[in-house]
């Protein structure tokens, strides 16, 4: 991966919550269409890292460039980056007062200034892609967790993002529903989307990731391709983590 080909460039990123040093000197560059899985124990800063990329969290030091745009306090640039970066949350965060179709067409209408007809057409296509077109007129509260998460993925895709961020997308789901969401994500990965996924689903990581990053205490401890990562982890901390999540 050459440097000029990277879509996200993070260098010397530092973030504090009060006195707590949440991210320490993170350097990371992500290539176009690259799929990255970030794992690590809770509190290791993995969610904070990806939330910095679309500025749901504000970093104090270092720089983040997304598709050539530097993240600063400039509201216009932030909005621009956000509309190019889709995000899927652990708890779905669908808008409960809007139907599934309205959830998906909202941003294309208001941010992309599309016509309602056009936005709904595209929303229906994407709902078909995540295989729930028949639920379009229901409200989120009427769907199962797995269905809600797939709507959330469709909602993010409606903005035709160049990058998708997933913040533990399956952690709040029943085991049966994890599968349907992961399948949707694998299809998305196969279609060539740039993805950064925070997850503990190691099967998924092994299958789609180009690179797995292991974080602990706000630092990137180790990164490697899946095969080397699982077979020959370098640091003891990674070995311990892998033994804990794989051996049961």
């Amino acid at each position: 991966m050459t440097k000029s080909d990277s879509i996200i460039k993070i260098s010397k990123l530092n973030k504090w919550y009060g006195k707590f040093h949440a991210l320490k000197d993170i350097d990371l560059s992500v290539g176009r269409t690259e799929k990255i899985v970030i794992c690590g124990p809770s509190g290791s800063g993995k969610s904070t890292l990806i939330r910095c990329i679309n500025r749901l969290e504000v970093h104090q030091e270092g720089s983040i460039q997304v598709d050539g745009i530097e993240l600063t306090d400039d509201i216009k640039q932030i909005t621009e980056i956000r509309s190019d970066v889709g995000m899927v949350f652990q708890h779905f965060n669908l808008f409960p007062h809007l139907t599934v179709l309205e959830n998906c067409s909202l941003a294309p209408i208001w941010v992309r200034k599309k016509s309602k007809v056009e936005a709904e057409e595209m929303a229906m296509q994407l709902l078909e892609k995540v295989r729930i077109p028949d639920q379009a007129d229901k409200y989120p509260g009427q769907l199962s967790g797995g269905q809600q998460q797939r709507v959330a993925i469709a909602r993010a895709l409606c903005m035709q993002p160049r990058i998708m961020l997933f913040d533990e997308p399956t952690s709040a789901l029943d085991p049966e529903m994890i599968k349907e969401v992961l399948e949707t994500m694998i299809e998305l990965a196969d279609s060539g989307m740039t993805m950064i996924v925070v997850t503990h689903e190691m099967g998924f990581a092994n299958r789609v990731a180009d690179r797995i990053i292991f974080m602990d205490e706000g630092q990137i401890v180790e990164q490697n391709d899946p095969e080397s990562f699982f077979k020959n982890p370098e640091s003891d901390r990674t070995k311990l983590f892998l033994s804990q999540i794989l051996d049961h």
């Binding site: 509201i75 941010v111 200034k113 016509s115």
Partner: protein, 392 residues
Amino acid sequence: MSKFPITLHRNPKFRSAIIQAVLVLVVVYSFYSLYQTTIFNLEERGIKTSTSFFDQVAPFKVGFSPFLNFELGETTYIEVFYIGVLNTILVAILGIIAATFLGFFIGILRSSNNWLAQKFALTYVEIFRNMPLLLQIMFWNFAIFLAFLPPPKQSLEFGAFYLNGRGLQTPVPIIENNFLFKVWLSVVILSVVASFIFRSWAKKRRNQTGKSLPVLSISLSFVIIVGISAFYILGQPLTVDMPVLGKFNFKGGGQLPLPLFSLWFALTIYTSAFIAENVRAGIASVSKGQIEAARSIGLTRPQMVKLIIIPQALRVIIPPTISQYLNLTKNSSLAMAVGYEEVVAVWANISLNQTGQALIIIAMTIIFFEICSLFTSFILNIYNRRIQIAER
């Protein structure tokens, strides 16, 4: 089917039916005996309960009657009742409008990230929510307005409005030519209708093409231009009677008496503190995840407030705010303390003392407040249902 039928006294349906029947009987009997006792006591004192006093001339003066004409020696008791009712409705409507705006403003300040604004709103709410309303009405009227407002000669001037110790002097519109005024009014109404049609057309156009128009400013300027030009073309069918300072007092114009002003002011301040709390609770009820999701799809802050926060917050804000509107309406009866002539003062107090017709007068007052409250809840519940239904 169970083998043994349940005996009657152990059957829950039978039991609850019996209990309810007994309760109804007790309530009906209590009301009946209350009614009998009252009638008996009134007759003991030589008062025959009847509505014949309605048409008698009221022997006292009602000073503030902006909607009906009051003429001492001509106005009857029933007209006094109407005047009181209208005065109550007037202060309630003025109070509800002002308290809503002020309450939302304070509530939004209370939820803001600005330290000063937040603490200011908190102090405001805690001070005015925790003081008895009667005390506040008397405080504003006697300790502030009466004490500090100047006599008419040194009135405070706000454009064509003059504020002094007697109240607020306002210009009053006078219809010069009734026919032309009606023509002008219909032209204005037609232009408003036209802008609503324009609005729905613009919405349809946006749905189809995604192009939006500044609908509000276009329709507003349209209505204003049409209204003003029609006004002059029709030869100014409406003139304004301006208050002019005479030797001792103002001549011309209208007067909102100080008691109305103080009462309105106190009711607004008091109720807005409660509404502000409802607004704060409503905004707080929208979870952080909703805001993050709205930001992550690229909505700007105003879009997020309009499309995500307000629709969800309103569902929490409206039901308790309906209660505050009802409270404000009922609390207006505390006007007796400052002498504003609303229904409890002129009807349930003065008229009752004059005629002794306690039964009818109190019953009518109660029924008026019941109808008022039920009507307010009815209207707002329709609105409430419209926004609540969205979740399912």
